[in-house]
C-alpha cells in the first residue's frame, strides 16, 4: 500500500536515530570511489530531500547546512557550495511537502526531479562564475538517476515505520 495521504495506512512515527543513520549511510555512499562514474546520484541530496518532504519537522535547513559543510570538505570543493544548494533544496522540499505527498510515488518522483536538478545547477553556476572548469553534461545525469531511485528509496527509508508496534500473532484482526 502506498504511504501517501490518500492511503489509509497509518505509519509508525519516525525514529530520529533512523534518520541519523540513513544520513550517515548516504554520506558513506557518497564517499565511495564511484563519484567519477557518470550518472552516480548525489545520495545525500536524495536522502535529505526525502526526509525534508516526509518529516519537515525533524529535518530542515540546519541539517542541510551541516551536511553541506561535510560534503564541501570531503569533496575538496569551495566551502559553502554544497551548503547553499542543500539549504535551498531543504527549504523547497519542505515547502512543497504538503503537496508532493498527495501524489502517487511515480508522480512524486517527477516533482522531485526539478529540485534535484536545481541542486546540481546551483552548484555548477556557483563554481563556473568563479572560473572553474565545466565538468561535462554527465554531471546532470545524476539527478535523473536519483529521481528513478525515488521509489526504491521511499520503500527502504520507510521500512522501519511499516512494522506494527506490538507483534501479537493471536490478534483478532
Amino acid at each position: 500500500m502506498q504511504p501517501t495521504f490518500s492511503s489509509s495506512r497509518i505509519l509508525q512515527p519516525v525514529r530520529p536515530w533512523f534518520i541519523f543513520f540513513s544520513m550517515l549511510g548516504a554520506v558513506l555512499l557518497n564517499f565511495l570511489p564511484t563519484a567519477h562514474w557518470p550518472g552516480v546520484p548525489d545520495w545525500v541530496a536524495l536522502v535529505l530531500c526525502f526526509w525534508c518532504i516526509r518529516e519537515f519537522r525533524h529535518v530542515g535547513m540546519g541539517w542541510a547546512f551541516c551536511l553541506g559543510l561535510l560534503m564541501d570538505v570531503a569533496d575538496g570543493a569551495v566551502l559553502g557550495q554544497h551548503c547553499f544548494a542543500y539549504v535551498l533544496l531543504a527549504y523547497t522540499a519542505s515547502a512543497l511537502s504538503r503537496r508532493i505527498l498527495w501524489f502517487p510515488l511515480a508522480q512524486q518522483a517527477l516533482q522531485v526531479l526539478p529540485l534535484l536538478v536545481a541542486t546540481q545547477i546551483f552548484q555548477a553556476v556557483m563554481r563556473l562564475i568563479v572560473g572553474a572548469d565545466f565538468p561535462g553534461w554527465g554531471y546532470f545525469i545524476g539527478p535523473v538517476v536519483a529521481t528513478l531511485l525515488w521509489i526504491p528509496a521511499t520503500f527502504i527509508l520507510l521500512l522501519p515505520q511499516y512494522q506494527p508496534v506490538e507483534q501479537d500473532p493471536n490478534r483478532p484482526i
Partner: protein, 312 residues
Amino acid sequence: MAGIDHAPPPFFKRGPAPLALLTFYIAVSLAIFVVDLRFKSLELFRQSIALVVDPVQRVAQTPGSLVDYAATYLQGMRGLQQENSELKHAQLSTAPNLQRLAQLEAENERLRKLLAVKEREKANGQVTQILYTARDPFSRKIIVDKGQQAGIVAGQPAIDETGVVGQVTRVFPFSAEITLITDKDQVVPVQVVRSGQRSVVFGLGNGQLELRYMPANADIQVGDILVTSGLDGIYLAGFPVAKVVNIERDSAYSFARIFCVPIAGVENFGEVMVLDPRQALPPAPPESTGRPSSSDKPGLGGKKKKTAAKGN
C-alpha cells in the same frame, strides 16, 4: 494510539519562520563561499571538519582498494614476470646515465664552486600513496596519505617517476590535497629544453596544458619537451612537465596557441613523491624608483636571473 505521532503539533512554539531561516543560512553559505575563495582564511575550520570526515572517507575507500588488491593478487605470475623483465630492461637502459650521475653531480658542484655560483639544490622528498581522487568534478585534485604529521606544507611540488604531477594545495592533519598541473589555470613556470626559452604553462582542465604568451613566431616545434625552469622558487629546475603536441599559429593574433600534454601519468598513478620545499630564493632586487640613480640595478637583476637560469 501507539501508531500516531506522539509529539503534539507545536502550535505556539515554532521557532523562526522558514523564510527567515532560509535567508540566514543562504547568507552564511554565500559568506563562507566568498571568504574561502577570496581570502582563504577558513583553512583551520576546514581542517577541523576534515579531522572527522577523513577517517570515514578512508573507510569508504576500503572496498575499492580491496577489489584492486584482489585484482593484482589474481593477476598471476605471468604478468609479474613480464613486468619484472620490463623493469630490468628499463634499469639497464638507464644504467649508463645513472652510473655517471654521482660523478657528474660532484663535477658540477666543483665547477659551480669554481665559478662562485650558488650550489644546485638537491631534490629530497617523501613517497606518498594516493588515497583517492577528490570528488569535486570541477577541479582535478588527488588526496595522498601524508599530511601535517609528516611535515608536509602547502606549496610543495609532487612528481612521479616521469615528471611533475602537481602541487600540494591544502594540508590536513593526516592527508594532503595535491592539485594536478592539468587543473584549470594551474600554472607551472617552464623552459623549452631545445631552445632554452622560458614561459609558463597553464592547465586547461581537459587533461591538456597550454603554453601561453608565446609570440606567434616563437621558436617552438611539435615534440618539444618543457621542463621546470626553477624561477618560481617552488619547483626545482629540470623536471619534465609537458610535451608540445599541437601549435596553432594565426597571424590575426599576436600569440601562438600551443597545446601540450603532461609527461607524467598525471591522471593515473598509485604513488607520488612530494618534494621538500625549496630553500628561500634570495630577495628580489629593490624596484627602481628614480631612473638615473639606480640605472645599474635592473641590469644586475637581469644578469642574476640569467645566471640562475643557465646554471639550472
